[in-house]
Each structure stands twice: as structure tokens, then as C-alpha cells.
């Protein structure tokens, strides 16, 4: 694991660090119910039109960029 981390370029190391923090947060939310999960954050956005529209637009842009624009 550490060899993989040290062998990666700077940008990859930062992405790995962000992914590890997100995975730890997810694990904590599964272990302790009082810790908000990513699903809880998404549910908060989906309570009303403004939040739902914001998430929908982000989802649309991400899909278009990932499947149509990415070289």
C-alpha cells in the first residue's frame, strides 16, 4: 500500500488521500448512526426543488463531461 502511494505522482497521492478520508468517513457512518453518511447529504439536497435541481445539474454536467468530452 505504501509502495503504491510512494510510487504515484503527486496528483495521484492527493487523490488517494481524498479517497482514504472519504472511505474512513463512510466507514464511520456505517459504524455509528449519528455520523452523517454521503447518502444523508444527498437526501438533504433532495428535500426540495432547489436542492434537487442543483444535484441534477451537477449530475448532468458530470455525465456529459465524463462520457462525451473526456479525451
Amino acid at each position: 500500500m505504501s509502495a503504491l502511494f510512494l510510487g504515484a505522482v503527486l496528483g495521484d497521492r492527493v487523490w488517494i488521500a481524498i479517497a482514504v478520508v472519504a472511505a474512513l468517513g463512510l466507514a464511520a457512518s456505517l459504524r455509528w448512526r449519528r455520523v452523517t453518511s454521503p447518502w444523508g447529504v444527498l437526501r438533504w439536497f433532495l428535500q426540495c426543488w432547489a436542492g434537487r435541481a442543483f444535484v441534477l445539474v451537477a449530475w448532468s454536467i458530470a455525465g456529459w463531461h465524463l462520457f462525451c468530452q473526456r479525451p
Partner: protein, 143 residues
């Protein structure tokens, strides 16, 4: 069987999308069609079924931020997710602005998966699933 049908159709569609060449017109049109249909479905199925008006939602969210100490664990975990999102967006923008091999953007990281047809189909299926959750979940089900 009826409940499984949309899932089967979505998986089949994702496989077709995955095996189309990424730069083909068909692949672009299908993604555009999904986005337009998704936005339309959100309006049709969400009309009159949101759990709260946007203003009330914003007000209650502001109140929760002001009284963060009332639920310290919940507040800290929400702060963690906000930081993860900001770090992701910020580092992606920083990497994009430098255009360097040492600083891959998030889409380039994903590109390592979507360059393969099955990887592209899997990510497309996940994207479709997330869209369905955004469109259909958390609506009021009472008439």
C-alpha cells in the same frame, strides 16, 4: 419481474453505451437523451411531491448551521463531507489549470476506467443509477 425490468433495461443500455466508440455520434446522442429525459422525468414525477418548499428548506438549513453545537457529531460529519467535496473540486481545478502529467484531473483518473468498454459500461450504469436516485427518491408518496 416488473420491478426488475427497469434495472435489466438500464444494464443493457449501459452495455450498449460502453461498447460504442466514445467519440461516436450515437454515444453522444444517447448521453444527451438520458440527460434531457432525466430532467423531464424529474419535473413530471416531482411536481407537487417535494418534501418542503425551497425557502423553508434554506431557512431550516441556515438554522441548523447556526445551532451546529446542538448536534456536534452530525455537524462535524457534515463538515467532513463538505471538506471532501471542496477538496475534490479545488484539487481538480488546480490540476486542470496546470495541465501536467504529474497532476491528473479527476476525469483523467476516471478515464483509466472508462477507456475500456466494460469499465465505461460500469461507470455509465452507476451514473444512470445515481440519476434515478436523484429523480425518484425523497419525494412525498402521499396523494
Amino acid at each position: 419481474m416488473k420491478r426488475a425490468l427497469p434495472g435489466v433495461i438500464a444494464v443493457a443500455f449501459a452495455l450498449v453505451e460502453g461498447f460504442w466508440p466514445q467519440q461516436s455520434a450515437a454515444a453522444h446522442w444517447s448521453v444527451g437523451a438520458v440527460i434531457v429525459l432525466g430532467l423531464g422525468a424529474a419535473v413530471v414525477f416531482g411536481r407537487g411531491r417535494q418534501r418542503s418548499p425551497s425557502r423553508a428548506w434554506a431557512r431550516s438549513s441556515l438554522r441548523a448551521v447556526r445551532h451546529w453545537w446542538a448536534h456536534p457529531i452530525r455537524s462535524a460529519s457534515v463538515a467532513l463531507w463538505v471538506l471532501v467535496l471542496l477538496a475534490t473540486a479545488g484539487w481538480d481545478a488546480y490540476s486542470f489549470s496546470h495541465q501536467s502529467d504529474r497532476l491528473p484531473t479527476l476525469s483523467r483518473v476516471f478515464g483509466g476506467i472508462t477507456r475500456y468498454p466494460l469499465g465505461r459500461a460500469s461507470v455509465f450504469a452507476l451514473w444512470l443509477g445515481l440519476g434515478a436516485i436523484i429523480i425518484f427518491s425523497e419525494r412525498r408518496t402521499d396523494p
